[in-house]
Structure formats: C-alpha cells, structure tokens
C-alpha cells in the first residue's frame, strides 16, 4: 500500500518536472542565446555581452521602452483609482441594475483583444476622431485595465473587517476623513495588488495597442513584433532575458515584503 503510494508520487513528480521543462525550456534557450556570439541569436557560438551593449545604444528600443513605461504608468494610476472607487461603490451600495453593471464591467475582460481593439479603432477614427498615439493607446489601456482593477479590489474587500469604518463614522469622523484615515489605509494592500497586476498587463499588451497605436507610436511589444517579422534577432533575446529577470526580481520582492509583513503582524 505504502509502496504503491510512493510509486504514484514518483510518477507525479516526473510529470510535474516535465511540465516545468516544457514551460521553461524555450525561455532558458533565449537566455542562453542572448550571450551567444551567433548573429542570428539562434545557436551557441561562444560567450559575448555585445548584444546587451547594442541594446543599450539602440534608440528605437529606448524610445519604445519610454513610451511603454509612460503608458503603463498613467494606466496604472488611473485604472487603479477607478477600480478602487468602483469596487467600493459596488460593495457598499445596493441599487437596481447592480448585477447588470457587474456583468457589463466583465465584458472588456472577456472580449477577445481583437474585438476590443478593432471596435476602439473604428470608434476613434470614424466617430470621435481621437488622434491615434498616446491618447488612443492610454484610453484603450484604461478601458481594459479598470475592470480588472475593480474585480481584484472587490475580491479583497470581501475579506475586510468593516467594523473599523463604522466605528470611525459612529465616533463622528466625516466620511472623507474616515476614508482617508481608516478605510484607505486598510485598502492599501488591495490597491497595491491591483497596481502590481495591472502594470504588466498594460506594459505587455500587444494586440489592442497594435490596433489603436497608428503610425509611429511603437511600444515595446510592438517593436518586438516588428523585429520578429525579420526573423530572430539577438536583441530580442536580450529583451526577453531582461523581462524574465525583472519579473523574477519583482516577484521575489513581493514575496519577501509579504513575509516580512506577516512576521511583523504576528509579533
């Protein structure tokens, strides 16, 4: 009986490792090739750092990166703000059509990006004539990121202790002051979580941005896509390597800050 269990565990372990290999092998490959001397970035020909040097001096990449950071930055601030007040409203208020509103907020999340992208493109160019570029991209990103923020924050609100807020109000604090001093600080972890999730969403979006960006507003994903058409390039390998590294560092930072927070609250 025990032995059988052991074997089952071993088999599961092998399957799990194979799954991880499948998920990681391609990524490890481009990380390795980013240090390879091969000019197509597709095989190993000795160690070099020259692609990283080239990346640093690549104006197109720098422009695209700056643009992506600006767009993601604005989107995170606006979408998280809208998400916070919407979640608060949905949680606290009872009104007719609430269910309908919740379903409507889900729409931009569940619609395929090509539908959202093409509908917004037609809307911007044919109806309200918003210039394609920063304005159209930022609006589009806010449209698909805000609903996400709503549900992330709403999810955390359901686990809150709302007694503090009631106490503050009962003791005569104004609603504004209550929000600022009691509810807000309590909401902060949820707001941070939403911002942390939305930033990569906005930064990494390709499809919707591609539709509404027009000519000349190349974001980083659009730059990567345009390079892929010409086949593999070592520069993409370096960008990919940096992406994975930054993701890992970001996650480690979140993990350790949470661990520290837990320790603090438990002592």
């Amino acid at each position: 009986m025990k032995k059988k269990k052991r074997i089952a565990q071993k088999i599961l372990w092998v399957l799990s490792i194979l799954t991880l290999v499948f998920l990681w092998a391609p990524m490890i490959l481009i990380i390795v090739f980013s240090f390879s001397n091969n000019k197509y970035g597709s095989s190993w020909e000795g160690f070099t750092l020259k692609w990283y040097v080239k990346l640093l001096s690549n104006d197109q990449v720098r422009d695209a990166l700056t643009r992506s950071l600006i767009i993601a930055g604005v989107t995170v601030v606006v979408a998280t703000f809208i998400g916070t007040i919407t979640a608060y409203g949905l949680y606290k208020l009872n009104f007719r059509g609430k269910q309908f509103l919740r379903t409507s907020i889900l729409l931009p999340i569940v619609f395929p990006s090509v539908v959202t992208g093409s509908a917004l493109l037609v809307f911007f160019t044919r109806l309200i004539h918003i210039p394609l570029g920063y304005p159209s991209i930022i609006i589009a990103h806010i449209v698909f990121c805000s609903p996400l923020a709503v549900f992330i924050i709403l999810g955390r609100m359901q686990r809150f202790d709302w007694a503090w807020e009631e106490a503050a109000l009962d003791l005569g604090a104004t609603p504004f002051r209550t929000f600022l001093r009691v509810t807000g600080p309590q909401l902060l972890p949820a707001i941070m979580a939403s911002a942390m999730l939305i930033f990569p969403w906005s930064f990494d979006d390709f499809v919707i941005t591609y539709f509404v960006s027009g000519v000349g507003s190349t974001t980083l994903p659009i730059y990567v896509f345009s390079q892929l058409r010409f086949g593999a390039t070592p520069v993409i390998n370096t960008i990919g390597t940096l992406f994975v590294t930054i993701t890992m560092l970001g996650m480690l930072a979140v993990y350790f800050s949470q661990k520290m927070g837990n320790k603090k609250s438990s002592t």
Binding site: S42, V114, S118, F151, V224, G240, V244
Partner: protein, 302 residues
C-alpha cells in the same frame, strides 16, 4: 387620526432622502466606470454592429446602405469553418491544459512540502513574462532551423528537419504553452482549499485511491477547473498571435481573421461583422457559464 397621517409623510421624506443619498453616492463612486463602459465599450460595439450591416466600397471606404451581405458572406463558407475550428482548438487546448495541469497542481498541493513556494514561483514567472517573447522563444526552439531540429540532426536521430511550424500540432502546442500556467494556478488553489478529512473519511470507508480521486477530489475541485477553463478558453477562441506565428497562412483562427480584415485588407464592414460574430460567440459561452454557476468562479479567477 392625525398621528397616523404624519407617519407615512415623514417616511416618504426619509425615503426620498435615502434615495437622494444613494444617487449622490452612485454618482461619486460609479460614474467613471459607467462612462467607460457606455462610451468606450458599448458605443464602439454599437458602431461595429452598425458597420457590419454597411456595404464595403473600394479602397476601404464604406458605402452607407443597409445590407446583409457581410454577415451572410462571413457566416458561410470558409469563414464559418474557421470559426468552428477556433472553438474546437480552444476546447482541445482547454482539455490538454487540464490533462497536463492537474498532475502538477496535485503534486504541488499534496507533496510540495517546503518547496511549495518554489514550485508556484516557477509556474507564475513564465505566466507573467512577456507573452510575445514567450511565443518567440518557443518558435526559436521548434522552428525549422530551431534548436530542437539542430540537436536532433546533430545526434543523427533525423536526417531532415521536422516540419513542426505551420501545423495544427504547432498551434495547439503554442496555445497550451501560453495558457497552461493559468490552468495550473486555480486548480492548485482549489486543491489547497480541499478539506483533507473528507478524503480520510472516504479512505476509512474503503474507497480505493482511484475511486477516491474521481468521486471526491475531482468533484470538489470543480470550481478551480471551471475558473481555469474560463481563463484558458476565452482568450484562446479569439487568439491572433499564436495562429499568425505558429500557423502562418495555413491555420487561421477567428481572431486572426478579424485582425486580417482590419489591419491588412482594411475592409471595415467585413471585419466588423467578423468581430461581432466573435463577440457574440463569446457572450453566448459566457452566458452559459454564468448559468451553470460560473459567475463566482469567473470573478474569483480574476
């Protein structure tokens, strides 16, 4: 009696005040999202719905006469087939993600021990790294001149490179590669939330491990499976990048058709009708999921 007369009066006044307060609160908290939904979601959808009934003129122009020809052309023939193929591919991807995702989720939840965090970390990192770059990385591995072929040829296992790209297999593999983490995580969460005493009870009552899994564990993790399926199925149906990178011109999906009509052909009426059909397909699927009790799973999945 005068007292009775007063009470209903003050009640309606209190009610009115309540109503006004509610309206004010709604305006304060909910107006931004309502504006976003109405102006930037409903209105654009209405516009493409309108355009899908317009005639397409030469050079991407639109002739404003009412016609059903786009809808008929897009629904029938080759396009309809591509739609069905997309739905089929999405189901297949979903099934394969469960097939590959469940064992690893189960292993981590049951036997992960001290390394649990590391395992989860190894699954989350790929899912958060750039989607486009991950697809590019996979292409580097399995392309005609890719690493896999080079290694196999050098080992003498094959004499000619395997043609993996531009096949159904390649598209399916890329879809599973892209979306598998989003299936593993909800299943893992569901398994973690499982009450172990239920399993012990089943064992005490003489259930075999096999039976225990299919009669207890699997049904109790249905929520996780549903959440994962929503996260995987919905984006897969409208996928554009995967078919365009791994399917080339040979394997198209509904999403790539829409993108093709808008960005390459510039035929707005035809593109619009395809987009509307794609949206309608997903709304139908979403409706069915919510009806089967998936709303909570859907909101939780986020």
């Amino acid at each position: 009696m005068p007292v009775l007369d007063e009470v209903p009066g003050s009640q309606t006044q209190a009610k009115k005040r309540e109503k006004r307060k509610l309206a004010l609160n709604m305006a304060a908290y909910l107006s931004p999202i309502i504006v976003i939904i109405v102006v930037f979601v409903f209105a654009p959808l209405a516009i493409i719905l309108f355009f899908s009934f317009m005639k397409s003129g030469p050079y991407g122009s639109i002739i404003y006469t009412f016609t059903f020809e786009n809808i008929i052309a897009m629904a029938g023939g080759g396009y309809g087939k591509i739609f069905l193929q997309s739905v089929y591919l999405a189901f297949q991807t979903n099934f394969l993600c469960i097939l590959f995702g469940y064992p690893i989720a189960y292993y981590i939840a049951r036997f992960g021990g001290k390394r649990k965090v590391l395992w989860i970390f190894m699954i989350i990192v790929p899912s958060w790294s750039s989607y486009l770059i991950r697809l590019y990385a996979l292409k580097t591995l399995v392309g005609t001149k890719g690493t896999l072929n080079t290694v196999l040829i050098n080992l003498g296992l094959i004499s000619e490179p395997l043609q993996i790209l531009y096949t159904n297999f390649a598209v399916t593999m890329a879809l599973v590669f892209a979306w598998l983490p989003f299936m593993i995580l909800p299943i893992y969460a569901a398994l973690e939330g499982l009450d172990r005493s239920v399993l012990e009870a089943a064992a005490d009552l003489g259930a075999t491990p096999f039976r225990r899994f299919f009669r207890v564990t699997l049904p109790l993790t249905r929520g996780g499976l549903l959440a994962g399926s929503i996260l995987v199925f919905i984006p897969t149906v409208g996928e554009w990048l995967v078919p365009s990178i791994f399917g080339g011109s040979k394997i198209m999906m509904a999403g790539s058709l829409v993108a093709h009509k808008f960005t390459q052909v510039g035929n707005i009426p035809q593109g619009s009708s395809l987009a509307i059909m794609l949206a309608a397909t997903l709304v139908l699927i979403l409706y069915l999921t919510i009806k089967w009790g998936g709303r909570e799973a859907l909101e939780k999945a986020l």
